[in-house]
Structures are given as C-alpha cells and as structure tokens.
C-alpha cells in the first residue's frame, strides 16, 4: 500500500468528515432521516369490505369509488393491499370474517377535496341497497400521517429511544476504548475513541445527507454496526502498532512513520475482516423479503465507513495524538532531568 503523508492529509480528512457530519446534523435537525419506508408520503384512501360480497358487488363498489374520484378530478393508483381475517366483538364473542382492502393513492387534489370525495363515496355506498348489511368502511389517510397498515413499522428510533441509543453507543465505545488504552496505551485509546465516534456519526450523517430511504429506527442500528466494526478493526490496528513499537529496530521511529507502517502492514487483514462483515450483512440483507432487504442491506454503509477510517482517518489521528503524547512525555522527562541535575550540584 502506498505511503501517505498523514500529517498533511489529516486536515483534509478532518474537513471531509466535519463537512459531512455537520451537514448531516443540520439536515437531521431540519428534515430528520428520510423515513419514507415507514411513513407514506402520499394521501391514501382505503375501501375495506367483506371479501365474500361477490365479484359483482366488488366491481360495483370499486366503480363507485373510482367514478367519484374521477368526477372530482383526483388522480389515483389502485392496489389491493390486504386480504385479512378480522375478528369482531359481537355480543361478547369473537367471529372471524374475511376482509379485503383496496387502496387508492391519491394525487391532483388537496385534503379538503380528498375528504369530500371520501364522504361522497361513503354516502353513495350507503345508499346502494345491494350492499346493505355489509357496509364497507372507507378510511382516508392524510399526507404524512401514519397509515394503519404501516404503523407497525413506525419507529422506535426517535425521541428518548434515539438519544439513549446514541448515548449508549458513545458510553459503550468509551468503556471499550478504556480497555484499549489499558492494553495498547493512551494514544491508541484516544485515537480509537475518536475513530469510533467519527464512524458512528459519519454513518448516521451519510444517511441524513444522501437522503437514503430508511425505516426510521434503522440509522441508529447502522451507526451501531459502524461503531462495532470500527472497534474491531481498531484492535487489529492497535495490535500492529504495538508490534512495531516492541521491535527494537522500529521502536524509535516517528509516530507518523509507525502509523503509516501499521496501516500498510495491516490493510489486507483489515480489508479482509471488513469484507467478511460486509459479506455477512449483504447475504443476510439480500436473501430476504423486500421489507427486510430495505432494513438490513443499508447496514453495509456501516461497514464501509470504518474501512475508510482504519485506512486513512484513524492512522492520521493516531499519528497526531502519539506525537503530542511523545512531546508531553519528553517535557515531563526534561523536568525530571533538571531536578536530578540540581541534586547533583548540591552534592
């Protein structure tokens, strides 16, 4: 792997990361994540009826709805979204029956027009004697409101759950990297913490900036995947650094050279490990239904970000932290040497 001037490149990496993270925070504050997967963005009209009413009645029913919408100059797309069993509480007992829901996705009007159309359809259906006794239900869902049949997916990632999740990841990373500090030294711990925090934030920011459609609880989990993979790769990297410092031939090398050498020597392992994590997520994501694919597959971004970090951002941060750490240590040593000299003079 080619040698990088980490000292010169750190400001560039920092600028890229800060720009994306700040843009992500602003976009998240203003627009939130693009949670269109669990929040329908269109107005919808549901016509729900007993699926045993017969084909003719079914056609009549749908014709009522479609004619009313056409007369009101409302464009629509039709789909049968549900065939399901309902249990009704009648006289204290439960009776199972089958229902069908035809959903019209509306456009070309406003909420007032849609509500009026809905009322008109309901009135027309109520007036139609052939359907008496099995009155269909008509529901209107305004733009952005959570639909009954989508609501299950509405998230658990906003509000206190979101903030607690973010704090949980941060505290978890701190505790884990206290261990890294204990094992590999302060510069490795500090740089690892910065890298983990960066990866979590950077991943979440990418989802906010690129407006990738997600279930609203998911970005937190993608950030979590990112933090976990980042910590995993960092341990490998820290292990390389320790090996370099343990070797008497390379122990006295400058921090930048050590960081770059560890990066060059460990990139294959890091790439292999990240690649395997990516394969696991890709296979689990791709072999699924459409809903679960949309949930799991974007987590691959949470694996890609730590690869960038471990190759370029992390080593650059480590080089700077290690250099500062060495400087401080040298200052401390000088003070000690001074006192010793004084003592020698007195003798």
């Amino acid at each position: 792997m080619s040698k990088l001037n980490l000292k010169k490149l750190l400001p560039v990496f920092m600028a890229i990361s800060i720009a994306i993270v700040v843009a992500g925070i602003i976009l998240f504050a203003v627009l939130g994540f693009n949670a269109s997967l669990d929040r329908p963005v269109q107005d919808k009209l549901d016509v729900k009826y007993d699926s045993n009413i017969g084909a003719q009645n079914e056609t009549t029913l749908q014709n009522f709805a479609e004619k009313t919408l056409t007369d009101a100059k409302i464009s629509f797309e039709k789909e049968i979204v549900k065939d399901y069993t309902s249990t009704n509480d009648t006289n204290g007992s439960l009776i199972e029956s089958s229902y069908r829901i035809v959903r019209y996705t509306l456009s070309g009007g406003d909420e007032t027009a849609y509500t009026a159309a809905k009322d008109k359809i309901a009135d027309e259906i109520a007036a139609h004697s052939g359907l008496n006794g099995d009155q269909p239900d008509i529901y209107y869902y305004a733009d952005g409101s959570v639909s009954l049949y989508q609501e299950q997916l509405a998230l658990a990632g906003t509000g206190s759950a979101g903030w607690r999740g973010a704090i949980a990841l941060a505290v978890g990373a701190i505790v884990a990297l206290v261990y890294v500090t204990f094992r590999f030294g302060v510069p490795c711990g500090v740089a690892g913490l910065v890298t983990c925090a960066h990866d979590g934030l950077f991943t979440a920011a990418l989802f906010a900036v690129l407006r990738i459609p997600v279930y609203s609880s998911a970005p937190l989990l993608y950030a979590a995947v990112s933090v976990f993979v980042s910590a995993l790769l960092w341990v490998f990297y820290a292990n390389r650094i320790r090996a370099i410092y343990k070797d008497p031939d390379t122990a006295s090398l400058p921090a930048e050279t050590v960081a770059d050498r560890a990066r060059s020597e460990g990139w294959k392992t890091a790439l292999l490990l990240a690649g395997l994590c990516g394969i696991v997520i890709a296979v689990l994501g791709l072999v699924g239904t459409l809903g679960s694919i949309a949930l799991v597959l974007p987590a691959i971004i949470g694996v890609a970000v730590p690869v960038y970090s471990t190759f370029v951002f992390g080593p650059a941060v480590f080089a700077v932290v290690r250099k500062q750490f060495d400087k401080r240590r040298a200052v401390r040593n000088r003070v000690y040497v001074g006192k010793k000299k004084k003592a020698d003079t007195e003798e």
Binding site: A122, E151, G172, A231
Partner: protein, 529 residues
C-alpha cells in the same frame, strides 16, 4: 490425552451437540391427544414483523378442527383493535344497529334522533354542535378526546414492548397494534388485553362484601410542610402495581404503603365473619378484585383473573399498565369502546424469518466449505466449536426474556460467528507457520495460540464491553442487537480460546499424520542448504 479418552470425549461432545440440535430444531406430534413437541427455535419470541410459518402452512393433520394446534405455529404479525371514544360509533355499527330496529319504527326513529353524523362516525347528539349544514364535535369533546388519547398512548408505551403502536385513524377513532408475541396469544386473552386498556378515569379502590356495597377508599389531608396540608392521592396508599410472573403463571402485584396496608387491614378485619372483597376500579368500572376470608395484614397482594384462573403474562402486563397509568393521571376522561379486532400479517411477509434462516445457513455452509478445503480434517474442530456457539446462542436467545428473533439478532449472531471463524482461522494459520518451520504439531499449536492469544482476547473483550454497556443504556432494537452481539462475543471467545483448542487436541490423537490431517506442510529446504 490418549486415544481412548479422546474417543470418549469426542463421542460425548457429539452426543451433546446432537441433543442440542434435536432440541433446537425437531418438531413432531406425539401421543393421541394432538400434543406436539416444540423445538426451542419455534418457541423463541420473534419480532412481529417477521412472519414465519403461518398456521395454514402447517401439517393439516394437526390443524384440522383443532384450534389449539393452530396456535402453536408461529405466524408473526399482530393484532389491531379500533377504539372509539364513548358516545361515538362507526357508520357501519350505526347502520347495523338501525337495521336491528327494522320492525320497531318508533325505536328506529328514536335511535336516529340520538345520533348525528360527523365524517365517518355517528356521535351522540350531546357531543356535537351545529356546523353549517352538518355537525361538528363540541370543543369539550375534542379536549376530552385529546386527553384520553394521551392517556391511551402512555398506557401502551408503558408496556415497553417493541412494535406496540397507537395511532389516530380518521380523526376520532384510534387504532392500537399489539404484536403477536410467540404463538400463544388467544382470542379470549386478546379481548381482555384490549379491554383493560380502554377504561379511562380515576383509579379507585373499594372494599366490601359485594361490589354494590363496597365503600371506596377516601383520601384525607396530609401535611407537606409545617402547617401546610394538601389532599392525599391514591399514591399515598398504593406504592406500585406490577406484573408478577412465576413460570407460566402470572399475577398483578399491588404494593401498599403503610397507610394503605393499614386501610386494607381495617377493611378486612371482619373477613372471618363473611368474605370481604377488594375492588380495583378505573373510571368507576371494576378491573380486578380479590376476595379474602381472613384479615389481610401484608402490604402486598397478588391479583388473579378469578379465584381459579391466573392471568396470562400478556394480560398481567396490560392490566398492571392500565392500573399504573390511571394512578398517575387525575380527572375524568373519555373511556373507549373497542370496535373491531383484526389480525395483521407480518409486515415483512410470511417468509421473512425463513429467508433469514436460509441466508444464515448459506453463510455457514460457505464458511465450512472454506475451512474444509483449507484445513481438511481440522475443520471438524472448527465445525464443533461453531455448532456449540450457534446452539448455545439459540438457547440463550430463547431463554433470556428480553431477547427476540429478528434480522438484527440474526446479524449479531452471524457477526459473533464470523468473529469465531476469523479467530479460529488466525490460530490455525499461526500453527501452520510454526509447523512449516519443522516443529511438532503439539508445539505448533502451542506456539500458534500463544502468538495470537492476546489479539483474540482483546477483540472479544472490546466487542463484549461495547455490546453490554450499550445494552444497559439503550432501548428497543438497539439494546437487543447490542446484547446479542455482546453475548456472541463472550461465547465466541470461549469457543475460540478453549473449546476449539480442546477439540484440536482430541482430533490429533486419532491421526498418525497430523500434518496431512490439518493440511499443514513443512517448508521445503533445498539440498544446497
């Protein structure tokens, strides 16, 4: 370890693994009463959005006419109930009721006069006011409805269950979604669960020989600071209400304060002469009661559904949440009536969980193919370690109450498995290098492990720390993912550093050519050297 000991150990481990595989995957009927042996995987709680087998897909022999067998198939999804505020009914219910008075024109007319149409609903006439040609709800109703809705949301939030949702539908009806937890929820249980939550209003406790004759607990004044008094509340008598589970039996526990315990003792002092009942009411309706024929001197009582029937876990959880949230809210609010119940299929489809299993199996097969090609017989050691890891993870996910099976649990288990595979491969590669230098297999394994021990140890500790700490702070799906990954890291570490090495040592006793067995080769030395 000699060959005989190794063979015994290997056989025992094989039997244990086979037993665990049987427990985790086998499912079959037995006996003549339609009983079924359920495997651990089928009994594990699943996220409601991931459908597995629907009950219709099951063995018809056991479905036919046997509802209790149908319940045993996991189907995902959950239950939706539509709540209407008191005094409001759906258009359908209005027409159905009206049709019921078909033979009595007077009653029909009276019924029509009592209701006014507002949007998709019919409101009792007192709840609406004229609005142009039509009607609109009064401001007081709107206010009460908003307050009741808040209480309903708080009530379901306090269940602290994933996927529970409360949303307003068509302005004045509320749809509540409860996930189907496992496969055991039955219609009667569902009716109770939705029924407990619908009651709003003040929480009161009464005691007496019958419900009508019961006298309610009255609140006095309490001194809050020198010379300052304020009205007592139910919180001065009841400390907490909670679901209490012992095995498959659940109850609602009520802890009284000393003042509450004193009241309870006084009220039940005459219980020996005739049974005294304690009634717990929300908005004036009794939601639970307990009868005693002895004076109660304890400060905690446990409520069951009836004297002979215990609550289910779901019922106890929902009832205690309803009682608890009512205790902390003051003033009257609109109660709800429960209109329609329906079962909603899993949002990710009926096959979502099966496909996750398939994906996991594909990854496992790919990993094993690599190990068998690269390490020949040594791959058996890894296979055994991996199986032990996987089977223990399945058992733990089933046994730990707050864990459930969803895409993120599977991702966490798979990442833990990946960690185990990588660490095993790392130790094998280190041993391979040592063996190539001409060392014996025993020495190669020892040195190989020694070289990578701390790296493997560090990797697992860091992931486990991160997972467990994140679990303790976070909520919902993240906590499940983090905890499962932490658990996976611990098991992976044990399997990699201890179990795998033990298997390796055992396997080596069965072969006379360990190098060929493990596909390890000596470094070729040229004759010149």
């Amino acid at each position: 370890m000699n060959k005989v000991k190794s063979a015994i150990c290997f056989a025992l481990i094989t039997v244990v693994i086979a037993g665990l595989i049987f427990m985790c995957s086998a499912m079959f009927p037995y006996g003549h009463s339609g009983r079924r042996y359920n495997n651990i995987l089928s009994m594990t709680d699943k996220d409601a959005q991931y459908g597995g087998l629907t009950y219709d897909d099951g063995d018809e022999e056991y479905d036919e006419g046997k509802a209790e067998n149908k319940e045993r198939y996991y189907r995902g999804g959950g239950f939706v109930a539509v709540y209407y505020p008191e005094g409001v009914i759906s258009e359908k219910e209005y027409h159905d009721n009206l049709a019921g008075y078909e033979t009595d024109a007077e009653q029909q007319q009276k019924y029509e006069e009592d209701y006014r149409k507002v949007g998709a609903f019919y409101f009792e006439k007192d709840l609406v006011e004229k609005d142009g040609d039509g009607y609109k709800p009064t401001a007081a109703f709107e206010e009460d409805f908003a307050s009741s809705l808040d209480r309903l949301k708080t009530r379901f939030d306090s269940l602290e269950m994933a996927n529970v949702r409360v949303s307003v539908r068509d302005k004045y009806s509320v749809a509540v979604y409860l996930p189907s937890v496992g496969a055991t929820i039955e219609n009667s249980e569902l009716l109770s669960v939705f029924g407990y939550a619908r009651r709003m209003g003040e929480f009161t406790v009464a005691a007496g020989t019958s419900e009508d004759a019961a006298t309610e607990l009255t609140y006095g004044q309490k001194e809050v600071s020198a010379g300052k008094y304020e009205q007592e509340t139910i919180r001065d008598y009841i400390k907490r209400v909670y679901a209490y589970n012992v095995g498959s039996v659940s109850a609602v526990g009520v802890d009284f304060t000393p003042a509450g315990a004193a009241w309870l003792s006084t009220q039940t002092a005459t219980a020996a002469d005739g049974a005294v009942s304690i009634y717990f009411r929300i908005g004036g309706e009794t939601v639970a009661s307990v009868s005693t024929q002895e004076q109660i001197t304890a400060s905690t009582i446990y409520l069951s559904k009836t004297s002979a029937v215990a609550y289910t876990a779901y019922e106890a959880r929902c009832l205690s949440a309803a009682m608890r949230t009512s205790m902390d809210t003051e003033g009257e609010a609109l109660s709800f009536t429960v209109g329609e119940y329906s079962f909603e299929k899993a949002q990710f489809g009926d096959l979502a969980l099966i496909l996750l299993y398939v994906a996991f199996a594909a990854l496992a097969v790919g990993m094993l193919v690599f190990f068998f090609v690269r390490y020949h017989g040594l791959a058996v050691a890894h296979l055994y370690s991996f199986l032990i890891y996987l089977l223990l993870m399945i058992v733990l996910v089933w046994a730990i109450p707050f864990l459930n099976l969803n895409a993120w649990t599977v991702v966490a288990v798979a990442l833990g498995g990946l960690l185990l595979s990588v660490c095993n491969a790392l130790s094998y590669e280190n041993a391979r290098k040592e063996y190539a230098l001409g060392k014996t297999m025993e020495s190669s394994v020892k040195t190989g492990y020694k070289k990578c021990f701390w790296l493997i140890f560090d990797l697992h500790i860091v992931i486990a720390l991160l997972g467990f700490v994140a679990y303790f702070i976070s909520l919902t799906q993240l906590s499940v993912f983090a905890f499962t990954l932490g658990l996976g890291a611990v098991l992976s570490g044990l399997c990699s550093l201890a179990v795998n090495r033990f298997h390796w040592a055992m396997l080596m006793t069965f072969t006379k050519k360990p190098g060929a067995f493990c596909n390890f080769k000596r470094e070729e030395v040229s004759d010149d050297e």
